[in-house]
């Protein structure tokens, strides 16, 4: 092993019953580099990380780490930690009800006569936080810190445990841009100190912002290792997908412009105290209207109020010109609405149920308890959408939880298409989904609109919205502050609208 290599994984293979998750994969991490691990969902990124951290045992190959002559074998994350490999996950797994200092030293508290030495612990914590420039107090409760800070504290804990290899698994998914930037500052700092960082993410721009090297996996095999500078973005995407990549921007080309405006949904001064201030909102037949704004600006709250997920306390809603009362999601569904929620895991999937049951559940609920669908009907419906949306599943009876994120999302989309809605609400349908599926979903949205469906599309990725939407509502601080369309629909126009500043808000 050459001197600057801290971790080398050679010829790693891992088989799950029926699936070869990893086949002869090599991975090398050097001292003081940030190394992106890229691949579509199901490419084997998570498996590789889990093999490395001892969550899974490896079937073949060897892992070597600097400072140890023999190959190491990690049987558990604790083992991995003792070898200097630490992981920080997307969901911070610290204890929210303990203090920052307690979280930093949990399991290795400094002791005096057998009792925890609080003074030393707090002092050491303060030093550690200061040295990494993390703006938190040792005595604060962890839950009082923002998610970004919690993430940094998790990193600080890992760093203090003398880690040589730091794995960051999707750390930026729930952070806003400013927080991401702070995290990057911390990452660069650690790089300077010689820590090797493995960075797993879906965000291409973040890879180019902070990484030195990229390893690409596809279908459990190694595609290659590249310095960031030598791999342009389009090529990276092509390598991840394994095919030449048509320009994404073109998908909007054949989408028809609206000829006449037939409002499907009209909301007048609909609002809900504490979540969204009264707003007006119209969606026409065959139109894709986007909602944009920062995380927490009220995008989801707006659509949830229309759908009856959170019952609005003011205003009225018209569907196809007729005023309707919507007290619950079922009422909205009966009016032809469909809602794909933002948080797929929490609000979308029924994890233990099969793909078939997950697809038919909305239609079944709409029909009512005493009109059950026959087995044959269900199977036909499930097969139709598995086929149409190209859902990758072992069978229609496979539990949805064993599908990859993108395929789960397709199942949920199928669930709603089956109810044949007039108005489809998609709240972050592409979050955490590989780029191939993302494009498929975007194309699907435009196709549906062409067939006359009214769609509301919410996404944190502005580019994606520009590709699909013909009009956008802009939200800020729980209020709809305007709409943009036509010439304003550019990256810059949207940013300007989100940022505001020209008015007296």
């Amino acid at each position: 092993m050459s001197n600057d290599v801290v971790l080398s994984m050679k010829d790693i293979s891992k088989t799950f019953p029926g699936v070869k998750a990893l086949q002869h994969v090599d991975f090398t991490l050097r001292k003081g580099e940030i190394h992106a691990l890229m691949g579509e969902n199901g490419a084997g990124k998570s498996t590789l990380i889990k093999v490395l951290t001892g969550v899974h045992s490896l079937d073949g190959g060897e892992i070597r780490i600097a400072g140890s002559d023999a190959p190491i074998i990690n049987k558990s994350p604790q083992d991995a930690q003792s070898h200097g490999i630490s992981t920080v996950y997307q969901e911070v797994n610290l204890c929210p009800n303990l203090s920052v200092a307690e979280n930093l030293f949990i399991g290795r508290e400094p002791r005096k006569l057998g009792f925890i030495d609080w003074h030393t612990m707090n002092k050491k914590s303060t030093e550690l936080l200061k040295s990494l420039d993390i703006d938190a107090r040792a005595t604060d409760k962890l839950e009082e810190c923002s998610l970004a800070k919690q993430q940094m504290i998790a990193i600080a804990r890992a760093v203090d445990m003398k880690c040589q290899v730091l794995i960051l698994d999707e750390p930026t998914s729930s952070l806003d841009d400013e927080e991401v930037e702070k995290l990057f500052v911390l990452m660069r700092r650690l790089r300077k100190e010689g820590v090797g960082i493995i960075f797993v993410t879906h965000f291409l721009e973040q890879v180019y912002a902070v990484c030195d090297r990229i390893t690409v996996l596809r279908n459990g095999t190694l595609v290659g290792e590249y310095p960031v500078k030598e791999l342009p973005r389009v090529e990276l995407v092509a390598k991840m997908m394994g095919k030449n990549f048509d320009d994404l921007a073109d998908i909007k080309g054949d989408h028809k412009a609206l000829e006449k405006f037939e409002p499907v949904i009209e909301a007048e001064q609909v609002g809900r105290k504490g979540s969204i201030k009264p707003f007006d909102f119209v969606v026409n037949k065959g139109e894709v209207v986007g909602l944009t704004g920062l995380l927490g600006s009220g995008r989801s709250e707006l659509v949830r109020a229309i759908y009856g997920a959170d019952k609005p306390d003011t205003g009225k809603i018209k569907v196809n010109g007729k005023e309707v009362k919507i007290n619950s999601p079922l009422d909205a569904m009966k009016q032809g609405m469909a809602y794909l929620p933002e948080d797929r895991k929490k609000d979308g999937i029924l994890a233990d149920l099969s793909v078939r049951e997950n697809i038919i559940i909305a239609l079944q609920a709409k029909r009512g308890m005493f009109h059950p669908m026959s087995r044959k009907e269900m199977e036909e419906a499930a097969d139709k959408y598995i086929d149409m949306l190209q859902i990758k599943t072992a069978s229609r009876e496979t539990p949805i939880k064993s599908l990859s994120g993108g395929n789960q999302q397709k199942v949920i989309i199928g669930r709603w298409l089956l109810t044949n809605p007039d108005y489809l609400i998609l709240d972050e349908p592409t979050r955490g989904i590989d780029i191939g599926t993302k494009t498929e979903i975007q194309k699907l949205v435009l196709d549906l609109a062409d067939q006359g469906m009214a769609v509301t599309f919410i996404s944190s990725e502005v580019e994606e919205m520009l590709r699909t939407c013909s009009r956008m509502g802009v939200l800020r601080d729980g209020k709809k502050v305007g709409e943009i369309s036509g010439d304003q629909l550019t990256q810059e126009g949207v940013m300007k609208a989100i940022a505001g500043g020209d008015s007296n808000e």
């Binding site: 088989t15 233990d352 559940i361 609920a365 308890m369």
Partner: protein, 351 residues
Amino acid sequence: MNKDSIKKITSMRLFLPIVCLIAVLLVNLITTPGFFKISINNGVLYGYIVDVVNRASELVILAVGMTLVTAASGGQDISVGAVMAVAAAVCCQILSGGEVSVTELAAPMALAIIAAILASALCGAFNGFLVAKMNIQPMVATLILYTAGRGIGQLITAGQITYVRVDSYKVFGGYIGKIPVPTPIFLAIIVVIIVNLILKKTALGLYIESVGINGTASRLVGLNSTLIKFLTYVICGVLAGIAGIIASSRIYSADVNNIGLNLEMDAILAVALGGNVLGGGKFSLMGSVIGAYTIQALTTTLYAMNVKADQLPVYKAIVVVIIVTLQSPVFQSFIAKQRAKKAAAAVEGGK
């Protein structure tokens, strides 16, 4: 081919519950050779096995209700034993017309039974309201009737044991005419069939599973989570009422202090033995039913082995620990790992 079919059988949901039942029965084959003997004495079936199936009837009925409650709300109804007593008290009190002991019915049988079932449905509705609408933890919500239920029964019977020494009332816990099979066996089978039909012929089964797995997601696809949870508690109450009438008919009286005593725990155990997750979600009614028969078989087995009644719980506990461990996710994943290792070795070897 053999390997595949073995794997298919062992991965079936009912595999372990059935194995447990067979294991308990096998022990009997060795220790009590007469266990499986069935004879006809005085025109009725007689034997240990008949006794097991007969005595298990109330437990089977309770386990069915408990399964639904568990699946939908991820918690258990611990008041079912007390609700049994309430139903028995209402039934006997109406039949006796307030007397302590009668030899003739004071009111029509149908009236008494309907009133008893209504009373138990009301108890179920009370539990359901607390759990589904007020969002109280099931164990805490049903604790109220668990403690108060028998007191309510005492109030109804004015603190005495009401006897209904009428042959037509003894039918539910005894025999119908000259049929040699005890009535409770039929009643249990009928309840299982009816509930199964309701679950299969309406979408209720799917709704219950959905709500139990993910309440918020279920609401967003248009299910009324509150109503569905509420319904399962009402059904559970009604079934407890039916079990209560059977239990009281066996002793042709309403012994409020003893009817269904500690039976709620056996019912919960039956659900667990049936391979159902006590945290809710997917469920198997047949698993619980098999679980209920297993528990009764175990009890009877121990009696047959001359274990004293007051030592019974110790032995029962040991067996239960073994059975529950066999079905625990930790143990199962251990087995799965062992299997995967073997499979992987086979794959490598095949290259």
